[in-house]
C-alpha cells in the first residue's frame, strides 16, 4: 500500500502564466507601443525607414519561428509567400484598390494559396520538406515572371501611391508596417497561448505520444503553415508598399529565407522574443558594416551556425533559462500554494 498526496496537491496548486508582475510587462509594452506609433513624427526620416525594414524582418522571422521553432518545420521557401504577398498587393492596386487596404487581402490570398501547397509538402519530412518549399518558391517566382500584367521578369511599381506626398507615403507605410508587426507578434502570442499552442508543445516534446493521445499532428502543422504563409504575405505586401518598384528576383529572393532563419536562430528559436532580439542584432550589424558589401550576412550566418551548434536556445532562450525572465509567457508556472497546509493522504490501491 502506498501513500500519495497527489490528488490533494492538484487542488492546492497555483497555476500562473507568468512568475512576475504582468503589470510590469504590460506597462512597459504600452509605453513602447505609444512611442513607436508616433515615431515617424519624432525620429529622423532615415531612422523611421530603417525601423520599417526592421518591422518587415520581425514579421517574417516571427512567422518562420512559428513554423520551425514551434511546429518543427524548417522551410527555406517562405520567400514564396513574401513574393506572392507583394504581387497580390500590386495586382489589387492595379485593379484600383487603395494599396494600404491590399495588405489584409494579400495575407488572405497567401493563406488560401498555402492550402493546396500543404497537401503536397506536408507528406515530406525534414530536409525534403525544406528543399521542396524552395522548389515551390522557385516555381512561384517563375510563374509570376511570365505574367505580363504584373510586369513580367522586370517588375513594376505599385500604383495608387503617387497622389500622396513623399512624407505622407513614408508615414503611412511606417504605420502600416508597424501595425502589421504588432498584429503578427500579438497574434502569435495569443495563438501559442490557445489550445493550438498546447498541441504544438505536445508535438514538440514527443510527437508519438501526442499522436497516441489523439492529437492530429498534420492538421496542427497545416494550420501553422497557412498562418505563416498569411503572415509572410502581409510582410510582402508591406514590402511592396515600402519600395518604389517590385521585381520578382528581389521579392522572391532566397535571402529572405536566410534572414528569417538567421534572425530566429540567433535570437532564440521557440521564443516569441527571440526573433525580435535577433532582428535588432541583425540591423545593428547591418548598419555597422554597411560599407563592407555582404560581410554582415557572412558574419551573421557564421554566428547562426555557431549558435545552432553550441547554444541552440539562442540569445533569448539562454538568457531566459538563466534569469527565469519571461516577457511574453506562453506556458504555465505551477507552484504549490503556500497558504494551504492541510494535507489529506490519498490511499492508492
Amino acid at each position: 500500500m502506498t501513500v500519495s498526496n497527489s490528488a490533494n496537491e492538484l487542488v492546492s496548486l497555483d497555476v500562473r502564466r507568468s512568475n512576475h508582475s504582468e503589470w510590469f510587462t504590460s506597462s512597459g509594452a504600452l509605453a513602447l507601443i505609444i512611442f513607436l506609433s508616433v515615431a515617424p513624427w519624432i525620429v529622423p526620416a532615415e531612422f523611421a525607414a530603417t525601423l520599417m525594414n526592421f518591422y518587415i524582418l520581425v514579421i517574417m522571422a516571427t512567422m518562420w519561428n512559428l513554423l520551425a521553432g514551434y511546429a518543427g518545420m524548417v522551410s527555406i521557401g517562405q520567400q514564396a509567400f513574401v513574393g506572392l504577398g507583394a504581387y497580390a498587393t500590386l495586382y489589387f492596386a492595379l485593379k484600383g484598390v487603395n494599396p494600404f487596404v491590399t495588405i489584409p487581402l494579400a495575407a488572405v490570398v497567401c493563406g488560401l494559396l498555402a492550402v493546396p501547397i500543404t497537401y503536397l509538402l506536408l507528406r515530406l519530412r525534414g530536409g525534403y520538406f525544406a528543399i521542396a518549399t524552395w522548389v515551390v518558391a522557385d516555381t512561384a517566382l517563375l510563374v509570376i515572371g511570365t505574367i505580363a500584367l504584373l510586369g513580367g521578369g522586370t517588375g513594376r511599381s505599385v500604383p495608387g501611391l503617387q497622389n500622396l506626398t513623399p512624407t505622407q507615403t513614408a508615414h503611412y507605410s511606417y504605420l502600416a508596417a508597424w501595425a502589421v508587426a504588432l498584429i503578427v507578434v500579438a497574434g502569435t502570442y495569443f495563438l501559442l497561448r490557445s489550445r493550438l499552442g498546447l498541441v504544438l508543445a505536445s508535438i514538440r516534446d514527443n510527437e508519438v505520444a501526442a499522436r497516441s493521445a489523439g492529437v492530429n499532428v498534420r492538421a496542427a502543422r497545416r494550420t501553422i503553415f497557412i498562418v505563416a504563409a498569411a503572415g509572410c504575405g502581409a510582410a510582402g505586401a508591406v514590402l511592396a508598399i515600402s519600395q518604389p518598384f517590385i521585381q520578382p528576383s528581389s521579392v522572391f529572393s532566397l535571402q529572405w529565407a536566410a534572414e528569417m532563419l538567421f534572425v530566429s536562430m540567433i535570437g532564440g528559436l521557440g521564443t516569441i522574443e527571440g526573433p525580435i532580439i535577433g532582428a535588432i542584432i541583425f540591423f545593428a550589424l547591418q548598419q555597422f558594416l554597411q560599407q563592407d558589401g555582404v560581410w554582415y550576412l557572412i558574419i551573421f550566418g557564421t554566428l547562426a551556425v555557431v549558435i545552432a551548434l553550441w547554444q541552440p536556445r539562442g540569445i533569448w532562450g539562454t538568457f531566459r533559462d538563466r534569469f527565469h525572465v519571461d516577457l511574453l509567457p506562453v506556458g504555465y508556472h505551477v507552484r504549490r500554494r503556500s497558504n494551504i497546509v492541510e494535507e489529506v493522504p490519498v490511499v492508492e490501491e
Binding site: V74, R123, L124, G127, T139, T146, G301, V305
Partner: protein, 290 residues
Amino acid sequence: MIWLNILIQGTLIGGFYALFACGLSLMFGVLKVINLAHGDMAVVAGYVAVFLTPHLHIPEIWSFLVVVPIFGLIGYIVQRTLIQKSIDRDPFTTLLVTFGLSVVIENLLLEVYSANGQTVNIGAIGYESWHPGSIFYISYVSLGVLGTAVLVLLILQMFLSRTNTGRLIRAVADDREAAQMSGANYRHIFGIAAAIAFATVALAGIAYGMMTQFAPTSGGVNLLFAFEAVVIGGIGSLWGTLIGGVALGIAQQFGAHFNVGYQILAGNVLFLIVLAIRPQGLFGRKTALS
C-alpha cells in the same frame, strides 16, 4: 525530329544532374542528412579548379585529379566535425547548420571572386560537337559528362555491393544501431560516405564549369535540380537518380522548346506532379515520407 533532339539534349543534361545528385542521395541514404550546402561545394570546387590549381601548373582540364581527392578529404573532416556535431543534436540542427554554411559560402565567394561568370578552360574541345544528323549536335563535353556520370554510378554501385567498406556503409544506412552492435564505427562510416559525396560533387562542379559558366549563386540552382532528380527518380536509388535526372532534363528541354522562360518551370512542374501522384518517386521506397 525536333522531339528526338529534345530527348537527346535532355538525356545529356540529365547525366550531369545525376552526377551532381548522387552525393546528395548517398548522404541522405546513409547519414539521413540533407546537406543544403551540397551545391555550394560544387561551386567551390569550380573556383578552386579555375583560380588555385593553375598555381600548381596543372592545366584546368586535369584539375579534377587534384581537386576531387582534396574534396574527399574535406568531406571526411567536415563530417567528423560540423555535421557529426549537428547530427548529435538532432536532424533539425543539420538543416540549420548546412543552410547557414550554404549562405556563408555563397556570400564569401561573392566577396572574393565577384558575381562574374567563370568557366573551366579546356581549350577548343569545349566548343566542338558531333553532328550525326542535320539538326542534331551533341557537344563532346556533355557527352563526356554523361559518360562520367554513368561511370561514377557504376563504380559507386560496385563499391557499395562488392567491398567491405561498401557493405559497412549499407549496413549503417539500413540499421545504424544493429551495425554498431556488430562493431561498426558509424562515425567513421559516415565520414567515408561524406567523403564520397564531396568528391563526386567536386567532380560535378568542375564538369559544370566545363559545360557552362558558373557564379557564386550557381550552387543553389543546381542543388534544386539535383534534389528534383533524386525525388523524381526515387529516394535511395542510385540508378533511379540517373533516370530522374534524365526525366528532369527532358522536361526542361521540352519546356524550353516552347519558351526559354519555361525551361526551369517545366522541370519544377514535373517534380510537383511526381510529388503529388507518386511521392516515393519512380524507383523509391517510402523513406522520405512521414
